[in-house]
Symmetry: C2
Subunit: 345 residues, 2 copies
């Protein structure tokens, strides 16, 4: 993991103290500019952002843990590729590029349709198996997915990207993410289980039983965070874990979205604790497991807009705040430049 | 006051329910788009924003209620005009125009220097008097300032602006704003008084005594919200009160910034309760009187970035979120357009 650039962060902090405002008066905007200076090594950092959305199907969806049919995963991947999904509109507004990964979508349609455009990264992964019955992924599948994510981060670094954002789409994927959160934080599985994208009370009770059952089955056999990812994860989670690891390896900032993306980043930070300073929590999810993960990682979200969508939507909104932070940091005059008096002695 | 356009808001709500996401999954972004549809009368609303920063000196600054000398008001007005202040950098990033008003700045320098550029609106107002000793403004001064604000809103409407943002600069102006908040909300003056831009404990105690003294002097004699504005306000507060009233008269949305701008908008809403639905709280200020005003107005802030600067800085950051809301509202596909299945029956 590349450590933050302490000299760049210190230079940014010194600049903030000279800018035309009472010390600290820009609050979180100051902290964000200083943080991005540290992650990028640039005392006057710029947001050049790429959003990576990993889509995957999940065997556990057959257990009735989602309000939507599994076929929606592929349909939404088509929507990401044609620009009509929420994250597409938000990323356009936030000035971020968007890249999609097929991390194990059952329906081959989207991949075939995207063959010409080149906008879809393929992995050859198949959907995960039901973690209620067996490990969700094989060892080789985890390695392939993680390596895909790491390679995407390396490519982003080569392209001059300074900020990576990870998002996901996968019907049923709050269930593996909640399992991972319970395993990582030691929290109560039932208390950490939330309604996802709109389960009713009966569905929520079923999902709680699945999360508890999966942890009872796999918990005693898990050895290390990548073992947890294999047994309790999924293709989207594994690609995003690799993406976060790659951000750490290549000196990028990484903005976490909601429950699933944060669970993947938390697995990555468990593998490589040196990744932690490169993580930013973009948005607070209403899912209870997300709060547990944020506390576990020591992250305070930039935004709380009551989003519960995934797709990187919350993290992309946070990019707009990060841009504002950099605009103030770079574009303001200093007290000396403006000829303005400081506080009275 | 122009009422919101219920048909446009209903059409926007119907569109949100058709967009490619679970119902309500974009949370506050959905509510913001629907709100702006109502204020603008456009079911697919656009953010065309103008920021008006009113600067004024305050007689009460002589009582030692600020950490900064009063001369900073004029110096900062120069910085607004030359583009080096925080709000200038933030407004550029948020795609908003910026207009400054001399609402009673003691030093004639900025007005003289801005004479050629035309970027400064002049009022001829002088600094307010110390509200600890006498009414801060005369009746004619309140009328002139409020009319200036209303005229600026009318001009914005003619220019096709959909969103107005009010900000301020005035050394000492958290004191009159806190007095107004205490009068409007009935809250305890001492508890509502905060450190502003960085008072120490001794300074805070002095400021508390000033706020209490001003309310003891004027409170029994105040007749109505404009009377409170005259006795406890200032030029910047009165211009912003007029700006908010004008937003209501001309069918614009109005984004409140921190304590001072929100106090001015709360006076306007006390004069014209029909203004209330056009108000948005952009950002939560750490000043205790701001929370009291937000509760009084029934507003929940979009952002909490720990800013304590004024200048409209928090409200301008909220413009970026409003833009994201409109981008999703306008740019997403519907379920039908994308051919995606809804929730399982």
């Amino acid at each position: 993991m590349r450590p933050l650039d302490a000299a760049a962060a210190a230079a940014a902090r010194a600049r903030q103290d000279e800018l035309l405002k009472p010390p600290g008066a820009l609050g979180r905007l100051e902290a964000l500019a200083i943080w991005l200076a540290g992650t990028s090594g640039d005392p006057r950092p710029q947001v050049r952002a790429r959003v990576v959305v990993a889509a995957a199907d999940h065997g556990v969806a057959a257990e009735g843990v989602s309000a939507y049919p599994a076929s929606v995963t592929a349909q939404m991947l088509d929507a990401f590729l044609s620009g009509g999904a929420a994250v597409c509109a938000l990323a356009r507004e936030a000035g971020a590029g968007l890249l999609c990964v097929d991390a194990g979508v059952d329906d081959p349609g989207p991949a075939a349709r995207a063959a010409e455009s080149g906008a879809l990264v393929r992995t050859g992964l198949r959907p995960s198996r039901s973690l209620l019955l067996e490990p969700a992924l094989e060892v080789g599948e985890v390695a392939l997915a993680v390596d895909t994510g790491r390679a995407l981060a390396a490519a982003a670094a080569r392209d001059g990207i300074t900020v990576l954002v990870g998002g996901e789409m996968g019907i049923g994927n709050t269930t593996p993410a909640t399992c991972l959160a319970a395993w990582l934080t030691g929290g109560d599985p039932a208390a950490l289980t939330g309604p996802g994208t709109g389960l009713d009370g009966v569905g929520l009770a079923r999902k709680r039983a699945v999360v508890q059952g999966a942890l009872a089955l796999h918990g005693p056999r898990i050895r290390g965070p990548l073992g947890a990812l294999r047994r309790l994860g999924g293709g989207d989670l594994a690609v995003l874990c690799g993406l976060a690891l790659g951000a750490g390896e290549h000196g990028l900032a990484y903005v976490c979205d909601g429950l699933i993306a944060t669970a993947a980043a938390a697995v990555a930070a468990a593998v490589e604790p040196g990744l932690r300073p490169r993580l930013l929590a973009g948005h607070r999810s209403p899912e209870p497991a997300h709060d547990a993960l944020l506390a576990h990682l020591g992250l305070a979200p930039v935004l709380d807009l009551e989003l519960r969508l995934g797709e990187a939507s919350g993290a992309v909104c946070a990019l707009a705040v990060l841009r504002l932070a950099c605009a103030a940091h770079d574009g303001m005059a200093t007290f000396a430049e403006a000829g303005v008096a400081g506080p009275a002695a």
